[in-house]
Protein backbone atom coordinates (compact mmCIF):
# COMPACT_ATOMS: atom_id res chain seq x y z
CA UNK A 1 0.00 0.00 0.00
CA UNK A 2 2.89 2.34 0.65
CA UNK A 3 4.67 1.19 -2.45
CA UNK A 4 6.01 3.73 -4.86
CA UNK A 5 7.47 3.18 -8.28
CA UNK A 6 10.26 5.14 -9.96
CA UNK A 7 9.25 6.89 -13.17
CA UNK A 8 10.70 9.51 -15.48
CA UNK A 9 8.94 12.85 -16.05
CA UNK A 10 8.60 13.08 -19.83
CA UNK A 11 6.51 16.19 -20.30
CA UNK A 12 4.31 18.77 -18.55
CA UNK A 13 0.65 18.40 -19.51
CA UNK A 14 -0.84 21.21 -17.40
CA UNK A 15 1.60 23.66 -15.80
CA UNK A 16 -1.06 25.52 -13.80
CA UNK A 17 -2.63 22.27 -12.54
CA UNK A 18 0.87 20.86 -11.82
CA UNK A 19 0.26 17.80 -13.97
CA UNK A 20 2.85 15.89 -15.98
CA UNK A 21 3.26 12.71 -17.93
CA UNK A 22 5.47 10.25 -16.12
CA UNK A 23 6.71 7.07 -17.73
CA UNK A 24 6.72 4.07 -15.42
CA UNK A 25 8.13 0.88 -16.98
CA UNK A 26 7.14 1.96 -20.47
CA UNK A 27 3.64 3.13 -19.51
CA UNK A 28 2.79 6.82 -19.49
CA UNK A 29 0.33 8.27 -17.04
CA UNK A 30 -0.62 11.65 -15.73
CA UNK A 31 0.83 12.43 -12.35
CA UNK A 32 0.43 15.36 -9.96
CA UNK A 33 3.65 17.24 -9.20
CA UNK A 34 2.37 19.19 -6.17
CA UNK A 35 4.72 17.46 -3.73
CA UNK A 36 7.88 17.96 -5.76
CA UNK A 37 7.52 21.29 -7.51
CA UNK A 38 9.70 24.13 -6.24
CA UNK A 39 9.66 26.71 -8.98
CA UNK A 40 9.04 26.08 -12.67
CA UNK A 41 7.47 22.71 -13.55
CA UNK A 42 9.72 22.53 -16.64
CA UNK A 43 12.72 21.95 -14.42
CA UNK A 44 11.30 18.55 -13.53
CA UNK A 45 11.25 17.21 -17.10
CA UNK A 46 13.81 14.42 -17.45
CA UNK A 47 14.01 13.86 -13.70
CA UNK A 48 13.17 10.56 -12.01
CA UNK A 49 10.45 10.71 -9.41
CA UNK A 50 8.86 8.20 -7.09
CA UNK A 51 5.16 7.84 -7.91
CA UNK A 52 2.56 6.85 -5.32
CA UNK A 53 -1.25 6.93 -5.86
CA UNK A 54 -0.98 9.33 -8.77
CA UNK A 55 1.38 11.81 -7.12
CA UNK A 56 5.12 12.29 -7.56
CA UNK A 57 6.33 12.08 -3.96
CA UNK A 58 10.02 12.87 -4.34
CA UNK A 59 12.67 13.50 -6.93
CA UNK A 60 15.03 10.57 -6.70
CA UNK A 61 18.50 11.78 -5.79
CA UNK A 62 20.85 10.30 -8.38
CA UNK A 63 24.03 11.20 -6.52
CA UNK A 64 22.77 9.43 -3.39
CA UNK A 65 21.73 6.38 -5.42
CA UNK A 66 25.21 6.18 -6.93
CA UNK A 67 26.78 6.50 -3.52
CA UNK A 68 24.65 3.66 -2.14
CA UNK A 69 25.59 1.42 -5.07
CA UNK A 70 29.25 2.35 -4.82
CA UNK A 71 29.24 1.37 -1.15
CA UNK A 72 27.72 -1.98 -2.05
CA UNK A 73 30.23 -2.56 -4.83
CA UNK A 74 33.25 -1.70 -2.74
CA UNK A 75 31.97 -4.04 -0.07
CA UNK A 76 31.71 -6.77 -2.68
CA UNK A 77 35.24 -6.08 -3.91
CA UNK A 78 36.50 -6.40 -0.36
CA UNK A 79 34.52 -9.58 0.02
CA UNK A 80 36.20 -11.04 -3.09
CA UNK A 81 39.64 -10.25 -1.79
CA UNK A 82 38.93 -11.90 1.53
CA UNK A 83 37.37 -14.76 -0.32
CA UNK A 84 40.44 -15.42 -2.43
CA UNK A 85 42.48 -15.15 0.67
CA UNK A 86 40.63 -17.67 2.76
CA UNK A 87 39.33 -19.85 -0.09
CA UNK A 88 35.95 -20.00 1.46
CA UNK A 89 33.21 -21.43 -0.68
CA UNK A 90 30.12 -21.38 1.48
CA UNK A 91 29.04 -18.06 -0.03
CA UNK A 92 27.54 -19.93 -2.95
CA UNK A 93 24.99 -21.50 -0.68
CA UNK A 94 22.47 -18.69 -1.00
CA UNK A 95 20.67 -17.57 -4.10
CA UNK A 96 18.57 -14.49 -4.59
CA UNK A 97 16.24 -14.67 -7.51
CA UNK A 98 16.35 -11.20 -8.95
CA UNK A 99 14.71 -12.10 -12.23
CA UNK A 100 11.18 -11.72 -10.94
CA UNK A 101 9.26 -8.61 -11.95
CA UNK A 102 8.82 -5.47 -9.92
CA UNK A 103 6.46 -4.89 -7.06
Amino acid sequence: MCLGVPGKVVGITDAAGLLAHVEVSGIKREVNLGCVVNGATDELVGKWVLVHVGFAMCVIDEAQAKETLAALESMQALEHELDDFSQRSHLDAGNVDASEGGA
Partner: protein, 374 residues
Protein backbone atom coordinates in the same frame (compact mmCIF):
# COMPACT_ATOMS: atom_id res chain seq x y z
CA UNK B 1 19.91 4.52 -13.93
CA UNK B 2 16.44 2.97 -13.56
CA UNK B 3 16.60 2.66 -9.75
CA UNK B 4 15.21 -0.88 -9.72
CA UNK B 5 17.42 -3.52 -11.38
CA UNK B 6 20.59 -2.10 -9.86
CA UNK B 7 19.16 -2.90 -6.45
CA UNK B 8 18.36 -6.53 -7.30
CA UNK B 9 21.83 -7.72 -8.31
CA UNK B 10 22.19 -11.31 -6.98
CA UNK B 11 25.99 -11.26 -6.74
CA UNK B 12 25.87 -8.14 -4.58
CA UNK B 13 23.18 -9.80 -2.50
CA UNK B 14 25.47 -12.76 -1.85
CA UNK B 15 28.27 -10.48 -0.76
CA UNK B 16 25.89 -8.70 1.58
CA UNK B 17 24.69 -11.95 3.12
CA UNK B 18 28.31 -12.94 3.73
CA UNK B 19 28.93 -9.61 5.47
CA UNK B 20 25.79 -10.06 7.52
CA UNK B 21 26.97 -13.49 8.68
CA UNK B 22 30.37 -12.11 9.63
CA UNK B 23 28.97 -9.12 11.47
CA UNK B 24 26.44 -11.23 13.32
CA UNK B 25 29.30 -13.23 14.83
CA UNK B 26 30.41 -10.06 16.61
CA UNK B 27 26.97 -9.18 17.95
CA UNK B 28 26.69 -9.96 21.69
CA UNK B 29 25.18 -13.45 22.23
CA UNK B 30 22.74 -12.10 24.80
CA UNK B 31 20.89 -10.40 21.94
CA UNK B 32 20.44 -13.60 19.92
CA UNK B 33 18.25 -14.55 18.25
CA UNK B 34 17.91 -10.91 17.22
CA UNK B 35 14.34 -9.71 16.84
CA UNK B 36 14.20 -7.19 14.01
CA UNK B 37 10.89 -5.54 13.26
CA UNK B 38 10.26 -4.53 9.65
CA UNK B 39 7.47 -2.05 10.27
CA UNK B 40 6.12 -1.79 6.74
CA UNK B 41 4.07 -4.41 4.92
CA UNK B 42 5.97 -3.57 1.74
CA UNK B 43 9.12 -4.81 3.44
CA UNK B 44 7.37 -7.98 4.59
CA UNK B 45 6.44 -8.57 0.97
CA UNK B 46 10.04 -8.08 -0.26
CA UNK B 47 11.38 -10.45 2.42
CA UNK B 48 9.10 -13.23 1.22
CA UNK B 49 9.04 -12.52 -2.50
CA UNK B 50 12.82 -12.65 -2.87
CA UNK B 51 13.35 -15.50 -0.43
CA UNK B 52 15.51 -13.27 1.78
CA UNK B 53 14.48 -15.06 4.96
CA UNK B 54 15.94 -18.34 3.69
CA UNK B 55 19.28 -16.66 2.96
CA UNK B 56 19.76 -15.27 6.43
CA UNK B 57 21.20 -16.95 9.52
CA UNK B 58 18.70 -18.39 12.01
CA UNK B 59 19.89 -15.94 14.65
CA UNK B 60 18.07 -13.14 12.85
CA UNK B 61 14.32 -13.27 13.28
CA UNK B 62 11.87 -10.87 11.69
CA UNK B 63 8.86 -9.54 13.52
CA UNK B 64 6.38 -8.38 10.91
CA UNK B 65 5.12 -5.00 12.02
CA UNK B 66 1.79 -3.17 11.88
CA UNK B 67 2.70 -0.96 8.92
CA UNK B 68 0.07 -2.18 6.51
CA UNK B 69 -2.97 0.12 6.74
CA UNK B 70 -5.27 -2.52 5.32
CA UNK B 71 -4.17 -5.04 7.95
CA UNK B 72 -4.98 -2.73 10.84
CA UNK B 73 -8.28 -1.46 9.43
CA UNK B 74 -10.84 -2.25 12.13
CA UNK B 75 -14.05 -4.04 11.31
CA UNK B 76 -16.18 -1.27 12.78
CA UNK B 77 -14.62 1.24 10.39
CA UNK B 78 -15.30 -1.01 7.44
CA UNK B 79 -18.89 -1.38 8.55
CA UNK B 80 -19.14 2.41 8.43
CA UNK B 81 -17.74 2.41 4.87
CA UNK B 82 -20.49 0.03 3.85
CA UNK B 83 -23.13 2.11 5.63
CA UNK B 84 -22.00 5.13 3.58
CA UNK B 85 -21.85 3.13 0.34
CA UNK B 86 -25.43 2.03 0.97
CA UNK B 87 -26.70 5.63 0.91
CA UNK B 88 -28.69 6.58 -2.19
CA UNK B 89 -27.03 8.71 -4.87
CA UNK B 90 -23.60 7.97 -3.45
CA UNK B 91 -20.46 6.72 -5.15
CA UNK B 92 -17.96 5.18 -2.72
CA UNK B 93 -14.37 5.10 -3.97
CA UNK B 94 -11.53 3.12 -2.49
CA UNK B 95 -8.10 1.69 -3.25
CA UNK B 96 -8.27 -1.92 -4.43
CA UNK B 97 -6.55 -3.18 -1.27
CA UNK B 98 -9.53 -2.28 0.90
CA UNK B 99 -12.14 -3.95 -1.29
CA UNK B 100 -11.83 -7.42 0.18
CA UNK B 101 -11.29 -6.64 3.86
CA UNK B 102 -14.02 -8.41 5.82
CA UNK B 103 -16.35 -6.32 7.96
CA UNK B 104 -19.05 -7.77 10.15
CA UNK B 105 -21.47 -7.75 7.21
CA UNK B 106 -19.03 -8.74 4.48
CA UNK B 107 -16.64 -6.62 2.43
CA UNK B 108 -17.05 -3.62 0.12
CA UNK B 109 -16.91 -6.09 -2.74
CA UNK B 110 -19.96 -7.83 -1.26
CA UNK B 111 -21.69 -4.45 -0.92
CA UNK B 112 -21.02 -3.81 -4.60
CA UNK B 113 -22.51 -7.19 -5.49
CA UNK B 114 -25.62 -6.10 -3.56
CA UNK B 115 -25.93 -3.08 -5.84
CA UNK B 116 -24.00 -0.34 -4.02
CA UNK B 117 -21.93 1.93 -6.25
CA UNK B 118 -18.46 1.04 -4.97
CA UNK B 119 -15.56 1.88 -7.27
CA UNK B 120 -11.92 1.06 -7.17
CA UNK B 121 -9.62 4.00 -7.85
CA UNK B 122 -5.86 4.25 -8.26
CA UNK B 123 -5.58 7.81 -6.97
CA UNK B 124 -7.71 10.17 -4.88
CA UNK B 125 -7.63 12.45 -7.93
CA UNK B 126 -9.63 9.79 -9.81
CA UNK B 127 -12.35 10.15 -7.18
CA UNK B 128 -12.26 13.92 -7.57
CA UNK B 129 -12.75 13.49 -11.30
CA UNK B 130 -15.78 11.30 -10.64
CA UNK B 131 -17.23 14.06 -8.45
CA UNK B 132 -16.84 16.53 -11.30
CA UNK B 133 -18.52 14.11 -13.70
CA UNK B 134 -21.42 13.34 -11.37
CA UNK B 135 -22.53 16.63 -9.80
CA UNK B 136 -25.85 15.00 -8.82
CA UNK B 137 -24.13 12.44 -6.58
CA UNK B 138 -22.03 12.50 -3.46
CA UNK B 139 -18.62 11.00 -4.23
CA UNK B 140 -16.81 9.68 -1.17
CA UNK B 141 -13.14 8.75 -1.15
CA UNK B 142 -12.08 6.29 1.53
CA UNK B 143 -8.78 7.88 2.61
CA UNK B 144 -6.80 5.02 4.03
CA UNK B 145 -3.15 4.88 4.88
CA UNK B 146 -0.17 6.18 6.78
CA UNK B 147 1.80 9.38 6.19
CA UNK B 148 2.84 8.05 2.77
CA UNK B 149 -0.66 8.47 1.39
CA UNK B 150 -1.76 11.48 3.45
CA UNK B 151 -0.25 14.18 1.20
CA UNK B 152 -2.11 12.82 -1.84
CA UNK B 153 -5.43 13.02 0.01
CA UNK B 154 -4.56 16.47 1.39
CA UNK B 155 -3.72 17.92 -2.02
CA UNK B 156 -6.85 16.38 -3.52
CA UNK B 157 -9.03 18.03 -0.85
CA UNK B 158 -7.28 21.34 -1.47
CA UNK B 159 -8.02 20.95 -5.16
CA UNK B 160 -11.69 20.17 -4.39
CA UNK B 161 -11.86 23.38 -2.38
CA UNK B 162 -10.29 25.40 -5.19
CA UNK B 163 -12.87 23.93 -7.57
CA UNK B 164 -15.66 24.70 -5.12
CA UNK B 165 -16.97 21.14 -5.22
CA UNK B 166 -19.73 20.42 -2.73
CA UNK B 167 -20.31 16.79 -3.68
CA UNK B 168 -16.86 15.47 -2.83
CA UNK B 169 -16.18 13.95 0.61
CA UNK B 170 -13.35 12.16 2.39
CA UNK B 171 -13.93 9.31 4.80
CA UNK B 172 -10.73 9.72 6.73
CA UNK B 173 -8.98 6.62 8.03
CA UNK B 174 -5.48 8.03 7.95
CA UNK B 175 -3.32 6.90 10.81
CA UNK B 176 0.09 7.88 12.03
CA UNK B 177 2.90 5.47 12.74
CA UNK B 178 4.89 6.73 15.73
CA UNK B 179 2.21 6.37 18.47
CA UNK B 180 1.79 2.76 17.39
CA UNK B 181 5.47 1.92 17.57
CA UNK B 182 5.77 3.46 21.02
CA UNK B 183 2.58 1.69 22.16
CA UNK B 184 4.08 -1.61 21.00
CA UNK B 185 7.37 -0.97 22.78
CA UNK B 186 5.52 -0.15 25.98
CA UNK B 187 4.04 -3.63 26.14
CA UNK B 188 6.01 -5.93 28.40
CA UNK B 189 5.73 -9.12 26.40
CA UNK B 190 6.77 -7.67 23.06
CA UNK B 191 10.47 -8.00 22.30
CA UNK B 192 11.97 -5.95 19.51
CA UNK B 193 15.73 -5.31 19.34
CA UNK B 194 15.83 -2.96 16.37
CA UNK B 195 13.78 -1.52 13.54
CA UNK B 196 13.91 -1.42 9.77
CA UNK B 197 11.83 1.72 9.26
CA UNK B 198 9.48 2.32 6.32
CA UNK B 199 11.18 4.08 3.41
CA UNK B 200 8.23 5.73 1.76
CA UNK B 201 6.56 6.91 4.92
CA UNK B 202 9.92 8.41 5.92
CA UNK B 203 10.17 10.16 2.56
CA UNK B 204 7.27 12.30 3.82
CA UNK B 205 8.07 12.76 7.50
CA UNK B 206 11.88 12.51 7.35
CA UNK B 207 14.03 10.73 9.92
CA UNK B 208 13.68 13.06 12.91
CA UNK B 209 10.24 11.99 14.20
CA UNK B 210 11.73 8.56 15.02
CA UNK B 211 14.15 10.01 17.56
CA UNK B 212 12.15 8.72 20.60
CA UNK B 213 12.85 5.14 19.45
CA UNK B 214 16.51 5.86 20.11
CA UNK B 215 16.26 8.31 23.02
CA UNK B 216 13.50 6.65 25.07
CA UNK B 217 13.72 3.01 24.03
CA UNK B 218 17.36 2.58 22.93
CA UNK B 219 16.43 0.75 19.73
CA UNK B 220 18.81 0.98 16.76
CA UNK B 221 16.91 1.96 13.58
CA UNK B 222 17.61 2.04 9.86
CA UNK B 223 15.28 3.73 7.34
CA UNK B 224 15.10 1.19 4.52
CA UNK B 225 14.26 1.00 0.81
CA UNK B 226 12.17 -1.72 -0.80
CA UNK B 227 14.46 -3.61 -3.16
CA UNK B 228 16.22 -6.75 -1.91
CA UNK B 229 19.64 -5.07 -1.76
CA UNK B 230 18.14 -2.16 0.16
CA UNK B 231 16.81 -4.51 2.80
CA UNK B 232 20.02 -6.53 3.08
CA UNK B 233 22.15 -3.41 3.28
CA UNK B 234 19.88 -1.92 5.94
CA UNK B 235 20.05 -5.14 7.94
CA UNK B 236 23.83 -5.04 7.76
CA UNK B 237 23.82 -1.41 8.96
CA UNK B 238 21.61 -2.46 11.86
CA UNK B 239 23.93 -5.33 12.80
CA UNK B 240 26.94 -3.00 12.72
CA UNK B 241 25.09 -0.77 15.21
CA UNK B 242 24.57 -3.78 17.51
CA UNK B 243 28.18 -4.84 17.09
CA UNK B 244 29.51 -1.37 17.88
CA UNK B 245 26.91 -0.86 20.59
CA UNK B 246 25.64 2.24 18.84
CA UNK B 247 22.02 3.28 18.78
CA UNK B 248 21.06 5.74 16.06
CA UNK B 249 18.58 6.47 13.30
CA UNK B 250 20.48 5.68 10.11
CA UNK B 251 19.23 6.21 6.59
CA UNK B 252 19.92 3.51 4.00
CA UNK B 253 17.38 4.99 1.53
CA UNK B 254 19.02 8.38 1.04
CA UNK B 255 18.16 8.45 -2.67
CA UNK B 256 14.54 8.98 -1.61
CA UNK B 257 14.49 10.02 2.06
CA UNK B 258 15.74 13.42 3.19
CA UNK B 259 16.22 14.00 6.92
CA UNK B 260 13.58 16.73 6.93
CA UNK B 261 11.08 14.83 4.79
CA UNK B 262 9.08 16.49 2.02
CA UNK B 263 8.29 20.15 2.86
CA UNK B 264 5.48 20.55 0.27
CA UNK B 265 3.76 17.41 1.53
CA UNK B 266 4.14 18.37 5.20
CA UNK B 267 2.71 21.82 4.52
CA UNK B 268 -0.39 20.41 2.80
CA UNK B 269 -0.85 17.91 5.63
CA UNK B 270 -0.57 20.61 8.30
CA UNK B 271 -3.28 22.61 6.58
CA UNK B 272 -5.74 19.82 5.87
CA UNK B 273 -5.47 17.55 8.91
CA UNK B 274 -5.71 17.72 12.63
CA UNK B 275 -4.86 14.99 15.05
CA UNK B 276 -7.63 12.92 16.60
CA UNK B 277 -7.36 11.84 20.18
CA UNK B 278 -7.28 8.18 19.40
CA UNK B 279 -7.88 5.63 16.72
CA UNK B 280 -8.82 1.99 16.80
CA UNK B 281 -6.46 -0.46 15.13
CA UNK B 282 -7.54 -3.91 14.15
CA UNK B 283 -5.93 -6.42 16.44
CA UNK B 284 -4.12 -3.80 18.51
CA UNK B 285 -7.05 -1.95 20.06
CA UNK B 286 -7.33 1.78 20.59
CA UNK B 287 -4.07 3.71 20.34
CA UNK B 288 -3.90 7.22 21.75
CA UNK B 289 -2.91 9.99 19.38
CA UNK B 290 -2.72 7.77 16.29
CA UNK B 291 -5.78 9.04 14.43
CA UNK B 292 -6.08 11.82 11.87
CA UNK B 293 -9.16 13.89 10.97
CA UNK B 294 -9.82 16.79 8.63
CA UNK B 295 -9.03 20.20 10.12
CA UNK B 296 -11.79 22.76 10.72
CA UNK B 297 -10.85 24.61 7.55
CA UNK B 298 -11.74 21.54 5.50
CA UNK B 299 -14.60 20.21 7.60
CA UNK B 300 -17.00 20.64 4.66
CA UNK B 301 -15.33 17.65 3.01
CA UNK B 302 -15.73 15.32 5.97
CA UNK B 303 -17.90 12.31 5.07
CA UNK B 304 -18.19 11.38 8.73
CA UNK B 305 -19.89 14.67 9.61
CA UNK B 306 -22.06 14.53 6.50
CA UNK B 307 -23.30 10.93 6.70
CA UNK B 308 -22.84 10.35 10.44
CA UNK B 309 -22.43 6.59 10.10
CA UNK B 310 -23.14 4.74 13.31
CA UNK B 311 -20.12 3.51 15.24
CA UNK B 312 -20.72 0.00 16.52
CA UNK B 313 -17.77 -1.89 17.88
CA UNK B 314 -17.24 -5.23 16.23
CA UNK B 315 -15.03 -7.96 17.66
CA UNK B 316 -12.51 -9.97 15.73
CA UNK B 317 -13.64 -13.55 15.13
CA UNK B 318 -13.17 -16.01 17.93
CA UNK B 319 -9.86 -17.84 17.90
CA UNK B 320 -8.16 -15.36 15.57
CA UNK B 321 -4.74 -14.13 16.60
CA UNK B 322 -4.42 -11.12 14.29
CA UNK B 323 -3.30 -8.82 17.12
CA UNK B 324 -0.65 -11.25 18.33
CA UNK B 325 0.71 -11.59 14.79
CA UNK B 326 0.74 -7.80 14.32
CA UNK B 327 2.72 -7.27 17.50
CA UNK B 328 5.14 -10.13 16.86
CA UNK B 329 3.86 -12.27 19.74
CA UNK B 330 3.30 -15.17 17.39
CA UNK B 331 3.80 -16.23 13.77
CA UNK B 332 0.84 -16.46 11.37
CA UNK B 333 1.13 -20.24 11.37
CA UNK B 334 0.50 -20.24 15.14
CA UNK B 335 -3.04 -18.95 14.56
CA UNK B 336 -5.50 -21.84 14.75
CA UNK B 337 -7.45 -20.35 11.83
CA UNK B 338 -4.44 -20.10 9.48
CA UNK B 339 -5.02 -21.79 6.13
CA UNK B 340 -8.31 -23.24 7.16
CA UNK B 341 -10.70 -21.50 7.41
CA UNK B 342 -8.63 -18.30 6.96
CA UNK B 343 -7.03 -18.06 3.52
CA UNK B 344 -6.63 -15.31 0.88
CA UNK B 345 -9.75 -16.62 -0.87
CA UNK B 346 -11.73 -16.58 2.35
CA UNK B 347 -10.04 -14.07 4.60
CA UNK B 348 -11.22 -13.96 8.19
CA UNK B 349 -8.59 -11.50 9.35
CA UNK B 350 -7.30 -8.51 7.36
CA UNK B 351 -3.73 -9.83 7.47
CA UNK B 352 -4.82 -12.44 4.94
CA UNK B 353 -6.21 -9.89 2.47
CA UNK B 354 -3.44 -7.59 1.32
CA UNK B 355 -0.36 -9.13 -0.25
CA UNK B 356 1.54 -7.08 2.31
CA UNK B 357 -0.14 -8.78 5.22
CA UNK B 358 2.06 -11.23 7.10
CA UNK B 359 -0.52 -14.02 6.94
CA UNK B 360 -1.01 -13.67 3.17
CA UNK B 361 2.77 -13.60 2.69
CA UNK B 362 3.14 -16.81 4.73
CA UNK B 363 0.30 -18.40 2.82
CA UNK B 364 1.66 -17.53 -0.65
CA UNK B 365 5.35 -18.10 -0.12
CA UNK B 366 5.40 -20.81 2.52
CA UNK B 367 7.40 -23.49 0.74
CA UNK B 368 10.10 -24.63 3.14
CA UNK B 369 10.28 -23.26 6.66
CA UNK B 370 13.37 -21.12 7.31
CA UNK B 371 16.43 -23.19 8.13
CA UNK B 372 15.37 -26.34 6.32
CA UNK B 373 16.04 -25.03 2.82
CA UNK B 374 18.73 -25.87 0.25
Amino acid sequence: MQYVDEFRDPTLAKALVAQIEKTLADVPDALKPLQVMEVCGGHTHTLFKYGILQLLPDDIEFVHGPGCPVCVLPKSRLDQCIAIAEQPETIFCTFGDAMRVPGSKGSLLDARARGCDVRMVYSPMDALELAQKHPDKQVVFFALGFETTMPATAMTVQQAQRLGLTNFKIFCQHITIMPTLTALLNQDDVRIDGFLLPGHLSMIIGTKPYQPLVDDFAKPCVVTGFEPLDMLQALLMLLVQFKERRCEIENQYSRVVADDGNPNALKAMAEVYSRKQQSEWRGLGVIEGSGIALSDAYAAFDAEAYFQPQQVSACDPEGSRCGDVLSGRCKPTDCPLFGKPCSPQNAIGALMVSSEGACAAYYHYRTVPTGEGQ
